[in-house]
């Protein structure tokens, strides 16, 4: 059964390995889960799931496997559970408050007797059936009217009853699919674009230089310090947004989220379809709060590396002619503006989320490919890698 569980988790794309499976076995062996389905669920979840976005998948698989468990005739399980009930019950009954309530019922002995009787009845009733663990956990007491004013068995502290629901509730549903997914790979690719340099305050000890200077200083200590190594790459990202780009929003978000934490000097702007005289930083205020492209060229020095992200899919007129923009009247063609950017910044690449094999069918992509002097790369990990290499040249 556990092997099934394991295989089904793998099928559901929860990344589990033999190592974790063995750890789970070890945990069971050491008695961490203590014969309670509840605890077993928690234990296996802690061991097998490594990321909150897999919790929902795990719950689903567990629910599925658990349903299979319900169908098992309750021989072995049945022998186990009444004891557990009794034990739990006894624990509960030990508080002072409840003891007093038991007194009111005719004392401990009588209570245990009644309880045993009830449990026996319970067992008989369920032997033919199969719904053992599912609902029988604690609720039978309530169901059988064994619920006098004090002993709140399975009322507000309904542990078993709740436990069954825990994975059926699927509380982690909305944790599935966060933006962070897959950014690790992107970050690794972006790391190619690191140019370490020592600038700023001198805070680190320069060991080789210190030794050299000390030796030269006739053995008298001469400490040399150097500034810390930092990534000094400056990046300017221009995102195409809206329209045909809506289909690629996720991959762009991932790229943005990864780039943001990787580079200290990162600036970004948005444009629509093609670059014209205006850019903006906030999409909600794109018509009010604009930044002129001319100013962009003056503000950011030529050592910035420019990264265009866009599908470059539009009518060729939008690129080649003044007034070609779908949104406004542009005095100068998009071509002119892109040429200006290319002239100003030596390192420039275009990342295109459209699969490379479709590029040749879209004239505007070819046009922009030419404009960027063949520095257009697909927005895949491989493409990103080559783009970073290109930027590093």
């Amino acid at each position: 059964m556990f092997v099934n569980f394991f295989l089904e988790l793998r099928q559901a794309k929860v990344p589990v390995s033999i190592k974790e499976y063995l750890a789970l076995m070890e945990g069971m062996d050491k008695g961490v889960s203590d014969y309670s389905v509840d605890d077993f669920y928690y234990l296996s979840r802690a061991i097998l799931v490594k990321d909150e976005r897999n919790l929902d998948k795990f719950d689903k698989v567990f629910g599925h496997i658990f349903k299979g468990l319900e169908a098992v005739p309750g021989d072995g399980v049945a022998a186990e559970i009444p004891e557990e009930w009794l034990r739990k019950l006894a624990e509960k009954l030990l508080t002072e408050e409840e003891k007093a309530q038991i007194e009111a019922l005719g004392g401990w002995e009588k209570l245990m007797e009644t309880l045993k009787k009830r449990l026996e009845e319970q067992q008989k009733r369920h032997q033919g059936g199969s719904k053992w663990i599912g609902t029988a956990g604690t609720s039978p007491f309530g169901a059988h009217g064994f619920n006098p004013e004090g002993v709140r068995i399975g009322q507000d502290k309904n542990r078993e009853g709740r436990a069954v629901k825990v994975w059926d509730k699927r509380e982690y549903k909305n944790l599935d699919d966060t933006v962070e997914i897959g950014t690790r790979n992107i970050k690794i690719a972006l790391r190619r674009l690191r140019k370490f340099a020592r600038e700023g305050a001198e805070v680190e000890l320069d060991m080789p230089d210190t030794i050299r200077s000390t030796a030269r200083n006739a053995g008298y200590l001469d400490i040399k310090m150097v500034p810390e190594r930092r990534n000094k790459v400056k990046l300017l990202i221009l995102f195409d947004i809206g329209g045909s780009m809506d289909a690629h929003i996720r991959v762009c978000e991932e790229l943005f989220s990864a780039a943001r934490s990787e580079f200290k000097h990162l600036e970004f702007f948005y444009f629509h379809n093609c670059l014209y005289e205006k850019l903006w930083k906030d999409n909600r205020r794109r018509h009010v709060d604009t930044f002129s492209t001319a100013q962009l060229l003056h503000t950011y020095p030529a050592d910035y590396k420019v990264l265009f992200v866009g599908d470059a899919s539009m009518s060729p007129y939008e690129i080649a002619y003044p007034g070609g923009s779908v949104e406004h009247w542009n005095e100068e063609s998009g071509q002119t503006w892109i040429q200006r950017v290319a002239d100003t910044y030596r390192s420039m690449v275009w990342l295109n989320p459209v699969p490379e094999r479709h590029w040749s069918y879209t004239p505007s992509i070819q046009l922009l490919q030419q404009l960027s002097s063949n520095r257009m790369f697909p927005l895949t990990l491989g493409g990103l890698d080559s783009a970073m290499k290109e930027l590093n040249k």
């Binding site: 990344p15 390995s17 190592k19 974790e20 750890a23 070890e26 945990g27 050491k30 008695g31 961490v32 889960s33 509840d38 605890d39 669920y41 928690y42 234990l43 979840r45 802690a46 061991i47 799931v49 490594k50 990321d51 909150e52 919790l55 542990r159 436990a163 825990v166 509380e171 982690y172 944790l175 966060t178 962070e180 950014t183 690790r184 970050k187 690794i188 790391r191 000890l205 060991m207 210190t210 000390t214 008298y220 200590l221 400490i223 934490s261």
Partner: protein, 282 residues
């Protein structure tokens, strides 16, 4: 050695099992969750419950894995050599123990907290793989192997700022602290403020969960913020009525500074409250 929560920390069943599994199987436990849901506090409470010493290693963006093992203080050695100090002859005098070393050689089995591991460089977790797996490392300067006599209980917290590598995750157990529901929250508050008025708590929780429901908040208030706010309410001796925002003149709850942590959120909340009140009038 079993952890069952303490009188100042309410541990849910799943958390309890996860912690016990990590203790029994001697694996690191990775804790994630919204900021302020008690990730760091957990390690302290586990240490308290098990009467174990706690060793804390707070990670910053500049922290290197090596610093957790040991550091070689070359500057002191150079200086001592100038002064003709005898200690200079033994390099071991200039090896500074890191937190992991401390944890490995502790006489009692300690709780080792690696706090906010996601703050470090992306390679940081990978650099600790072997050390956490085998609980040993090699000191090059003195050519000795430091091996844990008793494996410390390792707790790692993360705020999800960076994704952790798979190889690292393989070696950990994982627990995600879910935001507590109302019932659990009441328990938590009870533990911290046993003599809080019932009706004040009820109103405060209403306001609190209402605020969490507000769409588009940059930072939702969490458990620790609620506790701070309640403390303030108690200090100010606020009456439950003052919290009933429906009929009060104030738009936002009193002492909101403890709950809402940036001005955009306060503005957003004010605007929503204003709109809600206008609707009521009509």
């Amino acid at each position: 050695m079993k952890f069952t929560g303490t009188d100042s920390y309410v541990a849910s069943d799943d958390l309890r099992v996860a912690v016990n599994a990590a203790i029994a199987l001697q694996r690191p436990l990775l804790i994630k969750g919204e900021p302020g849901t008690g990730k760091t506090v957990l390690a302290h409470e586990v240490a308290k419950a098990l009467k174990a010493p706690i060793i804390e290693w707070h990670i910053k963006s500049t922290t290197k894995a090596q610093q957790g093992l040991y550091e070689y203080d070359a500057v002191s050695r150079l200086r001592d050599s100038q002064l003709g100090d005898e200690r200079v002859k033994d390099i071991a005098n200039y090896i500074k123990k890191g937190k992991l070393w401390e944890g490995f050689t502790s006489t009692e089995r300690p709780v080792l907290l690696i706090d906010e591991i996601d703050k470090a460089d992306i390679e940081f977790p990978n650099d600790l793989l072997l050390e956490l797996d085998r609980m040993e490392f090699y000191v090059y300067e003195t050519q000795q192997v430091i091996k844990a006599e008793q494996r410390p209980i390792v707790m790692i917290t993360s705020n999800n700022e960076k994704e952790l590598p798979d190889a690292f995750l393989r070696r950990c157990f994982f627990h995600y602290i879910r935001f507590p529901d109302r019932e659990t929250m009441t328990q938590i508050v009870d533990v911290h403020f046993p003599d809080l008025q019932r009706n004040l708590l009820r109103e405060a929780l209403n306001v609190f969960y209402d605020i969490r429901e507000v769409p588009g908040l940059k930072k939702k208030p969490s458990t620790s913020e609620l506790l701070d706010w309640l403390k303030l309410l108690m200090v100010e001796d606020m009456s439950p009525d003052a919290l009933r925002s429906k009929d009060s003149k104030q738009l936002i709850p009193p002492l909101h500074g403890a709950l809402l942590k940036n001005e955009q959120d306060v503005h957003l909340f004010e605007r929503l409250a204003f709109m809600a009140r206008r609707e009521q009038r009509q």
